[in-house]
Symmetry: C2
Subunit: 145 residues, 2 copies
């Protein structure tokens, strides 16, 4: 696993340790992490801070040029909201830990020219499978089901 | 203007009074406002709290059934991120103050079955026209340009 996906997975595990939904993300600009985050539904009662959104929020205000040279790493396939944020800011590349437990808007992202690289990593799949099995209600709430 | 769009416009004006991007939103469930919000880029340095996202965040955690009976009012056509949030939570109806100064993902929303009602209100248009003229840099940053 490359160092950036490892950092995203570390975020996911940090979230799990806090009693939260174990999805993590990092925003990488020119080989440097400029934002790290994880899902904040349980911890902060947040409905908008999915892992990817939390990473974007923690990266702070950036000029458009920075987003356009960045890659977003996320442990799970990005939902419609997070995919929309990727499109809003024109992030050209997304690296996804897995899409077996949840398939987000990868087709829309590709249709709009985003490079989506799904790595199907066993560590990411196992983390989500365990969480979905033990906390189905929180998980369904997180994806609007 | 109906009372809910007026409440969204009040939020937009509150944001302007705080030195922020003047876009406001309310989430309405069965005729009652359950979340109000406005863009928080300037006020909180937020890149994810657009008006619609702030209203969703302030509505707090809701069961899927609540979103599916709700209408989101927003003074401006929803960007890709906010449109994605609408799709994530399955909000079936969006009432938009105007789309003259910015056209968001209305086509995608309609394609996915969301009822999008654009009211083209002079008050909303004027608010954004003035803001874009006086603060073009902040505005461009807000829409990833």
């Amino acid at each position: 696993m490359d160092e950036f996906m490892q950092a995203a997975l570390d975020e996911a595990r940090k979230g799990l340790g806090e009693g939260g939904v174990p999805i993590g993300s990092v925003l990488v600009h020119r080989g440097r992490i400029i934002g790290r985050g994880h899902n904040q539904r349980q911890q902060r009662g947040s409905t908008v801070l999915h892992g990817e959104m939390d990473a974007l929020e923690n990266a702070g205000r950036q000029p458009a040029a920075v987003y356009r040279e960045s890659t977003l790493y996320t442990t799970l396939s990005p939902c419609p909201m997070c995919s929309g944020a990727i499109l809003l800011y024109g992030i050209p590349r997304v690296v996804v830990g897995e899409n077996r437990t949840f398939l987000g808007e990868e087709a829309l992202l590709r249709e709009r020219g985003v490079d989506v690289d799904v790595q199907q990593l066993p560590e990411c799949i196992e983390l989500m499978e365990t969480f979905i099995r033990t906390s189905p209600d929180v998980w369904n709430e997180d994806i609007g089901v």
